[in-house]
C-alpha cells in the first residue's frame, strides 16, 4: 500500500463542543479588513463572518441570504431587496438594510473602501435603505448581475455600520483584528493569529441554518503536503484544493473521504496576436508572426489536450474548449463539431506548409513575412507547477510543427509586468470565476487595452474584437438568463476562433476530508463523477460531525503529547547513552 499511515482519525473534540478544522486557503489572510483584502484565505473567512445580500445555491444560482427576495424595476435600473427582519449582529445590535446601504455607499464613495470591490459597484447610481428591511439599489445602466455582487466569499461583505463608522478615516490602516469580530454569518471570529490560524464559533441562530459544528478552525498550511499529512494524522478535517497526486493517494487512504467538483476556472495558453494600445498603436516585443491566424490555428491544433488531462491532471479534469468553466453550466459553450480544433499535428503542419512557413535546416519554420525563424518565447509562472509541467509538453509539440519555443519562467510580478507591456509571445495563464462571468469576459474587451503612454490597461491577452465588444455590452443588460447565455456563448465562439486564448482544460476542484465529517457535499455527480462546484461557505455550514464512534482511538493531541515526550526522552537517552558508552570505552580519565 502507498498510504503513509493507518489513516485512523481522531474525534475532533476539544473544549466544549465539536470543532471542524479546515486548512485555510494557502494564500492566507492578507488583512481582516474586508474593504482591502485580496487573499482568498481572507475572503473565505469573510464568507463565514460577514453577511451578504444573496448567496448561491447548488446550481450556482443566486439565492436568498440577507435578502429574502428582490425585485427589478421595469426600466431595469432599480433593484429592491427585501431584507430579513429581526437579525442581530454578533454584539447584539440590530442588523438592518441600513448596514447594507452604508457599506455599499462607502465602497462607492471612498477610494480606500473600494480597493477590493469598487468595480462591483462602479455602475451604481445610489443605494438607499428607506426602512430597516428594504434596500434600494439604483444603477446607471441596466445591470443583470446585481444579485451576484454581494455573495459569500467572492462578493461584497456587508459590515456593521455602528462598528465601522468610526474607522472610515483610517480605513487603510485599520486591521480589524480585535476579536471577537463583530459580524453576522454562520460563524463568529473569536481568535486570529496572523500566519497561523483563525478560530471561529458557530452562530447557532444563523438565518440559513445553524452550523453543525460548534467551532471552526481555519489553519494555515503553507504546503499542501503538510496539510495532507495533518489530515492523515487526524489533526485536520478538511482540505480544499489538493493536487492530482495528493488526491489520488488520498482516494485510497482509509479514514479519508474525497470529492472532485467541476472546475470553476480554465487553464490555457495566450498568444500575443499583436499587442496594441487603445488607439491601435502596436507596443511590445511580441513576435509579429503570431498575428497570423493560421499560425495561431496551427498552434491550437498542435496541442493534445487529452494527454494533458491524462498526464498532468492524472485524469482529474476535463478538456476545455469554451472560455467559461463548467462550474457554471448556465454559461457553458461548446464548439460545433466542424469547428472543433482537435489534436492533429499533421493538419497543423499542412496549414503552415500551405501558408508558406517553410522549414529551415534545423527544422524550425521560417516566417514568410519577416524571413525569421519561428522562435517563440513561452512565459510561464515559475511558482506554478502546472505551468512547468504543461510547458514541457508544449515545447515538444510545437517542435513537431516546426516552432521553437523557449520556456521563460517568470515570477508572477514580472510576468504581469511583461504582459501589460506586450513583451511576450506566448503565456501560460489560468483564471477562475464566480457565477457571474462579466469580469472574466470583460478582460478580453478592447476597453482594457492600455493607453498610448503605456499606462492603464487591464487586458489579458490584448484581444480586441469589435463584434465581441458589442456582445459584451449587450449581455450585461439582458435579464433573461437563457437569452444572456446565448450572447455569452457567441462571445466565447469569437474567442475560440480568435485562438488568442487557447483553453486547455478545466481541472477539477479537489477536496479531501476526514471520513467522519459528513454532510459536506451536496449536489449530484455528473457523468465523470464530478460534483457541482460548492463554495466553502456551504461546506463549513453543512459539515456535520459523524456520530461518536464507539471506542474512539483517543489518539489526539493531548495524549499524543506523552508519546512524543517519551520518544524525545528515548532519543536523548539512547544518544547520550551511546556517547557515554563510547566515553567509557575510551578509557578512564587516568591517562592523557
Amino acid at each position: 500500500g502507498r498510504a503513509f499511515a493507518d489513516g485512523s482519525t481522531a474525534g475532533s473534540g476539544s473544549g466544549a463542543g465539536k470543532t471542524l478544522r479546515v486548512a485555510m486557503d494557502g494564500s492566507g489572510v492578507d488583512t481582516l479588513n474586508p474593504f482591502t483584502a485580496y487573499f482568498n484565505g481572507a475572503l473565505d473567512l469573510f464568507g463565514g463572518i460577514y453577511p451578504t445580500l444573496t448567496t448561491i445555491d447548488d446550481a450556482g444560482k443566486s439565492a436568498p441570504y440577507l435578502a429574502k427576495s428582490w425585485k427589478l424595476s421595469d426600466d431595469h435600473l432599480t433593484w429592491t431587496f427585501q431584507i430579513a427582519d429581526g437579525l442581530k449582529w454578533s454584539d447584539g445590535q440590530p442588523l438592518t438594510a441600513e448596514d447594507a446601504a452604508w457599506t455599499l455607499n462607502l465602497i462607492m464613495t471612498d477610494d480606500v473602501a473600494g480597493t477590493a470591490n469598487g468595480t462591483l459597484v462602479a455602475n451604481f447610481e445610489s443605494v438607499t435603505a428607506p426602512d430597516a428591511t428594504t434596500l434600494v439599489v439604483k444603477t446607471k445602466q441596466p445591470q443583470s448581475n446585481l444579485d451576484y455582487i454581494s455573495i459569500p466569499v467572492s462578493g461584497i461583505p456587508i459590515v456593521p455600520k455602528h462598528v465601522w463608522e468610526a474607522h472610515t478615516k483610517d480605513l487603510k490602516d485599520f486591521k480589524n483584528e480585535s476579536t471577537p469580530v463583530v459580524g453576522y454569518g454562520p460563524w463568529v471570529l473569536t481568535e486570529f493569529k496572523t500566519g497561523e490560524y483563525a478560530k471561529l464559533d458557530a452562530n447557532k441562530t444563523f438565518l440559513l441554518g445553524a452550523p453543525k459544528y460548534d467551532h471552526l478552525i481555519e489553519q494555515i498550511y503553507k504546503e499542501t503536503d503538510a496539510a495532507v499529512a495533518a489530515l492523515k494524522a487526524g489533526q485536520l478535517d478538511y482540505i480544499e484544493g489538493v493536487n492530482a497526486t495528493q488526491f489520488k493517494t488520498l482516494q485510497g487512504a482509509s479514514g479519508v473521504q474525497t470529492a472532485q467538483a467541476v472546475g470553476n476556472g480554465w487553464f490555457g495558453l495566450e498568444l500575443n496576436a499583436g499587442a496594441k494600445t487603445r488607439t491601435g498603436k502596436p507596443i511590445g516585443t511580441g513576435n509579429p508572426a503570431l498575428a497570423d491566424p493560421v499560425l495561431r490555428k496551427a498552434i491550437a491544433l498542435a496541442v493534445d489536450k487529452k494527454t494533458l488531462v491524462a498526464k498532468v491532471l492524472d485524469g482529474q479534469g476535463q478538456v476545455a474548449e469554451g472560455y467559461l468553466p463548467p462550474a457554471w453550466p448556465q454559461w457553458s459553450w461548446k464548439p460545433a463539431d466542424d469547428q472543433l480544433s482537435k489534436f492533429d499535428p499533421a493538419a497543423a503542419n499542412k496549414l503552415l506548409d500551405d501558408a508558406g512557413y517553410k522549414a529551415g535546416s534545423d527544422g524550425v519554420r521560417v516566417d514568410p513575412k519577416t524571413s525569421k525563424p519561428l522562435n517563440l518565447r513561452l512565459g510561464i509562472h515559475s511558482d506554478d507547477t502546472q505551468d512547468a509541467a504543461v510547458s514541457n509538453y508544449l515545447v515538444s509539440w510545437f517542435k513537431a510543427i516546426g516552432i521553437n519555443a523557449t520556456i521563460q519562467p517568470m515570477s508572477m510580478s514580472a510576468l504581469n509586468s511583461d504582459l501589460g507591456k506586450g513583451n511576450w509571445d506566448m503565456l501560460m495563464d489560468a483564471w477562475t470565476t464566480g457565477p457571474d462571468p462579466t469580469y472574466l469576459l470583460g478582460i478580453q474587451s478592447c476597453g482594457t487595452l492600455p493607453n498610448d503612454d503605456g499606462s492603464g490597461g487591464n487586458t489579458d491577452s490584448f484581444f480586441c474584437d469589435a463584434d465581441y465588444d458589442k456582445l459584451f455590452a449587450q449581455q450585461s443588460t439582458i435579464f433573461d438568463p437563457a437569452e444572456r447565455a446565448k450572447v455569452v456563448g457567441q462571445m466565447q465562439e469569437i474567442l475560440y476562433q480568435g485562438n488568442s486564448n487557447i483553453m486547455f482544460y478545466n481541472s477539477t476542484h479537489k477536496i479531501a476530508a476526514n471520513a467522519k465529517v459528513s454532510g459536506l457535499l451536496t449536489g449530484t455527480k455528473d457523468a465523470n463523477g464530478f460534483y457541482p462546484a460548492q463554495s466553502s461557505f456551504w461546506s463549513y455550514l453543512k459539515a456535520a460531525p459523524a456520530a461518536e464512534a464507539a471506542g474512539s482511538s483517543g489518539k489526539d493531541g493531548g495524549s499524543g503529547a506523552g508519546l512524543w515526550i517519551g520518544v524525545i526522552v528515548a532519543v536523548v537517552v539512547v544518544g547520550g547513552g551511546g556517547v557515554l558508552v563510547l566515553r567509557r570505552r575510551s578509557g578512564a580519565d587516568d591517562r592523557e
Partner: protein, 327 residues
Amino acid sequence: MSSPRYLVTKLAAAAVSFAVTLVIGFVLFNLMPADPVRTMTRGRPTSEAELGRLRVQLGLDKPLWERFLDFVNDTLHGRLGYSWQYQQSVASLTMHRLGPTLLLMGTAFAISVALGLWLGVRSGWRAGSLFDRITSATALTLWSVPTFWLGMILLIVFSVGIGPIHGFLPAGGMSDPTLPQTGIEHYADVAKHLVLPALTMVLVVYAQYVTIMRASIIEEIGSPYLLTARAKGLTDAVVRRRHAVPNALLPSVTMIFLHLGGLISGAVAVEAIFSWPGLGELTYEALKIPDLPLLQGTFIVFSASVIIMNLLADLAYRALDPRVRAS
C-alpha cells in the same frame, strides 16, 4: 584602545554596515520592473482606475530617487516600506513574525551550540578516536544534507508516520488552535510544534559547531600552556576544562557568530516546510509574488540581526579575551 572609544567605533562600523545594507537592499529590490498592482489584484474584478489608484498608493509612479528618499524616511521611522500583498507596513508584519522566528532560532541555536561545542571538545580532545570518528562522520554527513530535504523527511517520518512509526508530531504551525492559547498546556503545545523544525535546524547546524570547536581544540592541543598545565599534575579532564576549552572557545565564538547567517538561511527553508509563522516563512511567502518591499524588509531585518549579533560577538570576544581587551 579605551573601552568607550572601542564601543563607539564598533557601533559606528555597525551603523555604516547597516546603512550599506539599506542601500544594497534598495538597489536590489528596485532594479526589476515589476507590476505589483496587477499581481495584487489578479483574479479579481478590478477596474483600470482602481489599478492606477493603487499604483499611486504604493508610490510606484514616483521616480527612483524619490522612492529611495521615501524608503530611507520610511525605514528611519521604523516602517521598512509597505508590503504589496499585505498592504501594511513591513515593520508591523515583521514584528508579528519576529517572536516565532526568535523562538525557533533561539532554541535551535542554543541546542546546536551546546551540543556542537560539547561534541566538538570531546572529539577534538581525542582526535582520531572512535568517538571522534563517529562524531565527525555524523557531523559531516549532516552538514551535507540539504536542510529542506531533511525537514521533509522528518516531516514524513514523525508527523505522517511511515511503516510502523505513527506520526505523532504536528505537521506544521506553531500551536494547536484547539487548545487554549495560554498556560502550561499552551507552552507544552508550542514546544511540541517546535520539536520538528528545531530538530531539523539543529541537525544541520550543530555539525558546523562541532567542526569549528573540534578544530579550535585541536589547534590548542599542541600549545605549550597545556603542557604546563599537565606538568602541574592536573588531570586530563581539568586540563581540558580549565585550560583548553576557554582558549578554544574564543575563536569558536567568533566563528559561531559569523555562521549566524547560515542559521537564518536554514530558518527560511525550515519555516517554509513546517509552516512556522516566522520571518523565514514570510520571506518565502513574499518570494512567490515576489513582494519586493516585503522581501526587502525581511532582508533588512535579517541583515540587521546579523550585524547586531556580530557586534555582540565582537563585544563578547573583547570581554572574554584579555588579549583583545588590552589592544
